[in-house]
């Protein structure tokens, strides 16, 4: 197939030129044959993962579950989740005749791209993690993104959905199909203190615009919502977290149930928000009829993707990279920092390139005031990245003492200073936006040796 050959040549060219080449090869192939994605994807059983936060982690967890169940599959690397990237995945997986031995595809898809992708692909399963405000200069308003996903679903015939019951926006997609829909959520019994409703991206009923009533919040606008006027409310989750037994800086142990059966699982990645991602993966496995034990084993063995709670050991100290993309994600990371028993050293790397979002106003929707609440427990905060100065201003107004704020834009210097100030065995947390993540990871790779994420 000519389009496949052209695409494959583009992939080789990118490798030679040492460009990441995640989206471009697919775009090259599509220029030659508009239907290339349709033709190549047809023979596959397709699992798609989308949503604002957690796509990559959930895709990684489902990957591990497929591995545990001995399934051969193709999957795209993070960052290759736009139309070109999805096409590139198939280009690189098939031979020049367009054939592939593997017949399952696990694809992470950007939420604004689902609508276009479903013009060519018929997904068998779509997992939607959640909807939060994110990069408003790219996505426009939150509801238009939600509507785009709905529009994509409506085009399909055999799709089964996995949806977040606690998210009023996500759950509303349940009526877009007559096929099977599984919901995942967190029960009241699993949370100690209900999260204060600091910022909510969806306070008002999606059907009738009346303000929702909540019997409890889990995080952001996620919780047990109910509209007092039209009755739209949280659907009963099929897969639910009933208790959180342990939350550490490296993992979470939970009790969960599928319908009436109860299980325990150790999720090998930290952060309360990752419990949601684990539940989504478990629900996806349920649709696939996999044994629960295999899902539990997968979560225990899970190794997260680059930049998502990625730990790098440097001598007798650690660096942990945690990608932050939007206010809710950031707030969850700040919550996570409270689980650190030792003194907290954290660097925020804020870029404003297109993939990060060019408007940094969103920093003011993040509850950095939490850092100030740490008092003596907070040792040092570094403001870095292209918009380091904006980050420093935010920290100052959040109540972090100016003596604790260090603005350092040179990454080499940031790492040296950061590590030098660390006590033995402690961790330097690095929280970057997307392109800052790519840059700092490049540097860490050169200094300490790390995997190329696209290899």
């Amino acid at each position: 197939m000519l389009s496949v050959i052209a695409g494959k040549l583009a992939i080789i060219a990118c490798k030679i030129l040492k460009r990441s080449g995640t989206n471009m090869p697919g775009n090259v192939a599509a220029k030659i044959d508009k239907q290339v994605l349709k033709k190549l994807s047809e023979p596959f059983y397709i699992i798609m993962i989308t949503g604002t936060n957690g796509k990559t982690t959930t895709t990684g967890m489902v990957s591990q579950i497929l591995n545990e169940n001995g399934v051969d599959f193709i999957t795209n690397k993070s960052g290759a989740n736009l139309f070109g990237g999805v096409t590139s995945l198939f280009i690189s997986s098939v031979n020049v005749f367009g054939k592939c031995k593997k017949n399952t595809a696990l694809i992470e898809v950007d939420e604004a791209t689902i609508d276009r992708v479903t013009n060519y692909i018929e997904p068998d399963i779509l997992v939607v993690t959640n909807f939060f405000r994110d990069q408003l200069d790219r996505y426009g308003e939150l509801y238009s993104t939600l509507n785009k996903v709905r529009s994509g679903i409506l085009k399909t015939k055999k799709i089964k959905l996995v949806l977040n019951s606690d998210d009023s926006l996500c759950a509303s997609l349940g009526d877009a199909t007559q096929n099977e829909v599984l919901y995942f959520g967190v029960e009241k019994t699993a949370i100690e203190n209900t999260d204060e409703n600091n910022i909510s991206d969806a306070s008002f009923c999606i059907h009738c615009k009346t303000k929702y009533e909540y019997s409890y919040f889990v995080l952001g606008h996620l919780g047990d919502f109910k509209c007092p006027k039209c009755g739209y409310s949280r659907p009963t989750p099929n897969v639910k977290c009933t208790d959180v037994l342990e939350l550490t800086t490296t993992n979470s142990r939970i009790q969960f149930s599928i319908d009436d059966n109860s299980f325990e699982a150790n999720i090998n990645v930290a952060g309360f928000y990752n419990i949601y991602n684990a539940l989504a993966a478990i629900a996806c496995a349920k649709i696939l009829d996999y044994p629960v034990e295999k899902s539990i084993s997968a979560l225990n063995n899970f190794q997260n993707s680059f930049g998502r709670m990625e730990n790098i050991v440097v001598g007798n100290k650690n660096i942990r990279l945690i990608l932050a993309k939007n206010p809710t994600g950031f707030n969850q990371i700040l919550n996570y920092l409270f689980t650190e028993q030792r003194s907290v050293h954290v660097a925020f790397l804020i870029n404003d390139r297109v993939q990060d979002g060019t408007d940094v106003s969103w920093l003011w929707d993040v509850d950095f005031e939490k850092l100030a609440q740490m008092d003596g427990h907070l040792s040092q905060v570094y403001a870095s990245g292209i918009r380091a100065e904006d980050m420093a201003v935010r920290l100052k107004y959040a109540g972090v003492g100016t003596e604790k704020i260090i603005t350092e834009k040179v990454y080499n210097q940031l790492i040296s200073t950061g590590l030098d100030s660390l006590d033995t065995g402690n961790t330097l947390y690095i929280v970057p936006t997307y392109t800052a993540m790519l840059d700092i990871r490049q540097l860490l790779k050169e200094k300490f040796g790390l995997k190329d994420f696209w290899v």
């Binding site: 426009g140 939150l142 306070s203 615009k209 408007d359 003011w364």
Partner: protein, 248 residues
Amino acid sequence: MYELNICHLYPDLLNLYGDRGNVIALKKRCEWRDIAVNVINISCGDVFDHTKYDMIFIGGGQDYEQEILEADLLEDKADELKKAIENNKAVLAICGGYQLLGKYYKTGDGKTIEYLGALDLWTIAGNDRLIGNLVFECDFLKSDSFDGRVVGFENHSGKTYLGEGLKPMGKVISGYGNNAQDGFEGAVYKNTFCSYSHGSLLPKNPVLADYLISLALKEKYSDFTSLLTLDDNIELLCHDTVIKKIIK
């Protein structure tokens, strides 16, 4: 001891682009000077008595949320808000809030929606979104030590036009401003300041923040002369760095 009451209008609905940073900035800059601040959140169904507040802030939001508050703002709160503006209360209105204070909004399909009518301005829906970094120069902020430049970020499809007697807030140095045509940004009427700028606006524009605080204190306390100087190194470094980045 001085004390200021700041009313944050519709913080749960008009909260899209980090605009609460303006309220945070005002509060902190007062507290650092031992001026007590109370922030009162007022939303749909809450009583709004303009005499109770010294400063009023209204931000921007999505169309979805804006529709929800329109009836409340334009019917229940209209009189009090107009009085606040006429009676020299310090008011800051950003983006959606800015538009709502005007006479009307004309949609893409030609429909005219009547707005508050407190200020002689109107907005017409445009086809393209005006998005990007924004720098504008305000005469009223100029001094021997300051060139009057304000820096922020705009993201709006509405184009706002000012009536004959209404002054803009500043001259656009880089960006689109009110309507991408006349070269001006924002509007000023008595002690009411309107702008399309997010950023948020006040944190890295401390001169503007202090100007608004001073207005409010002057109105309230006859013995107020001037604000204590603060160490604004972090804010000004940010202000200067971002402007340099925008105007290469």
